[in-house]
Amino acid sequence: MSDVAQASKVAGARPVADGLFTWPDNPKLLASSCNSCGTTTFPTQSSCPRCTGSDMREVTLATRGRLWTWTIQGFEPKPPYAGPAPFEPYGVGYVELAADADGASPVLVESRLSESTPERLVIGAEMDLEIVPFRTDDDGTEIVTFSFRPAGGA
């Protein structure tokens, strides 16, 4: 969690969007769970795409899960991408996470990955959530976002 602690210490830092994760203390992804069928969505939404109901509650997600699939983004995306220059390839994947609530199903969350070496990304391997610096705004504000790294990695 050293990166999280580091990010939270930066004066004027803010998340890339509100409502994606709790922050700066005890960071967890925020999701919705359907009270009718248990489907969990990320980020939160007010209705259930599975059963069409609209009785949803906010839940947090586990910070460790398993990598379901991955790729490496090898070229700089066009706007609205607003990552730091110069461009560096980054990992992207889906991580299967349990919800921290009874009756809420697990969910596969799409995320940037802090690891971009193909050999170190393995389907089924454990991954840990971290909140990482993403870019710096024109006014010097550090923008942070969520990411996953291989568990137990350096």
């Binding site: 890339v16 969007a17 994606l20 999701a31 489907t39 969990t40 969505t41 990320f42 980020p43 795409p49 599975r50 379901w68 699939t69 991955w70 790729t71 490496i72 983004q73 090898g74 070229f75 995306p77 066009k78 706007p79 609205p80 991408y81 607003a82 990552g83 980054y90 992207v92 994947g93 889906y94 299967e96 199903s105 697990p106 969910v107 596969l108 969350v109 799409e110 995320s111 940037r112 193909p118 389907i123 993403f134 976002t145």
Partner: protein
């Protein structure tokens, strides 16, 4: 009322500086009219569209103000397929005898850049670099190869076949054959897919003239019958592009339902198909769609590709015109290009890339954002 395709027209695919998408559309319509031996004033009803090159119905100021009802279709990757489905229904309903389906497009260079808000997703998704079709394709085939024990080098086989077939197609964009080694050595854009395993957004247009089957021979000596057209959208649990999350509960993609419906309506099965054009936005898509359409089983693709079964001379020829990989993807036109190719193949008029043995049945399949698929079954 059965439906026949009696006229086909195409503006070559590729890049055409100074020629608008609408102009390419008009060119394709005139080619199709000439092929059917009719004038524009004989077309009774028209359906067409593009994703980013304008409204198809504005073409009446170029083709002629005949009062024809002309419906604009704006349906992403299914634009051409949807236009065809409606042109087909317009005849089956008994209201019309002669209709037009048109698709054209003209896109900027490079990968499509999508707007998160227009897809109902927060801006953060695009801002942090998650909203790329190329990424999705990489992740989807990565998981598919893992699930079915397939090696990544078969992705190069698909691309090499596409460029080999494209080299035999005068309307294709990429006409230079590339070896599997060159394809594997190209820059890795999104693991496991290299640059030459992806198609490029491009330009082009295709027009089709449809007639009620009982009148088809007035217009052509080689009518090709449109046995069925089906169009489906995704179900919950399908793995689709621009998904910030997925359910662990997996459902088949929209292709599975669209293909099954097309085969059922046509009264034949995938095993009866002599030539198929299936969506190959990238190499992995062709591999996954071979199974989703029912042309083979999951995991059988490696043996089929290594044995040459999907080559023009093989037992299951796929993407004989070079597919999206060699033709590029003008979104509105792409699905109708497949139908155009099948008409040539079923007429026996595909020249250097003609499937041997006089094919009698053909299949097309498009797939795209945000989880849509359209399929056709054709026969002579």
């Amino acid at each position: 009322m059965d439906v026949a395709i009696v006229g086909i027209g195409m503006h070559p695919f590729g890049r055409h500086p100074g020629v608008s998408g609408l102009e390419q559309g008009a060119y394709a319509v005139r080619q199709a009219l000439a092929d059917a031996g009719i004038g524009w004033s004989e077309v009774e009803c028209a359906f067409g569209g593009s994703a980013s090159a304008g409204n198809a119905d504005s073409l009446v100021s170029n083709l002629g103000l005949t009062g024809v009802p002309f419906v604009n279709v704006y349906n992403g990757c299914a634009t051409g397929g949807s236009a065809l489905a409606m042109a087909d229904r317009a005849i089956r309903s008994g209201d019309y005898d002669l209709t037009l389906a048109l698709g054209f497009d003209k896109h900027a260079r490079g990968a499509f850049n999508a707007n998160p808000e227009s897809a109902g997703i927060g801006r953060w998704y695009g801002e942090t670099g998650l909203m790329l079709t190329t990424q999705f394709f990489g992740m989807k085939i990565q998981r598919y190869l893992h699930d079915h024990g397939l090696p990544a080098d078969i992705l190069a086989k698909v691309a090499a076949k596409a460029f080999r077939n494209g080299s035999l197609n005068e309307n294709a964009w990429r006409r230079k054959p590339l070896s599997e080694e060159e394809i594997l050595a190209a820059p890795m854009l999104s693991n496991p897919l290299t640059q030459y395993m992806f198609c490029n957004p491009g330009e082009g247009a295709v027009a089709l003239i449809l007639a009620s089957a009982d009148k088809a021979t007035r217009y052509t000596s080689h009518p090709v019958y449109l046995k069925s057209v089906s169009f489906k959208t995704r179900r919950f649990g399908s793995f689709e592009v621009f998904s910030p999350w997925l359910s662990p509960e997996r459902a088949p993609g929209p292709t599975v339902e669209a293909a099954a419906a097309a085969f059922e309506a046509a009264g034949i099965g995938p095993e009866d198909i002599d030539v198929a054009q299936i969506q190959d936005t990238e190499s992995g898509a062709e591999i996954m769609h071979m199974a989703e359409t029912g042309l083979c089983k999951d995991g059988d693709q490696e043996a089929l590709l290594r044995s040459g079964a999907t080559e023009i001379g093989g037992k299951m020829p796929i993407n004989t015109d070079g597919g999206c990989l060699a033709n590029g993807e003008p979104i509105g036109a792409s699905g109708l290009r497949q139908v155009y190719e099948n008409v040539l193949q079923l007429r026996g008029a595909a020249g250097a890339r003609q499937v041997p043995g006089q094919p009698k049945t053909a299949f097309t399949h498009v797939y795209g954002a945000p989880g849509i698929s359209a399929c056709t079954v054709m026969s002579v």
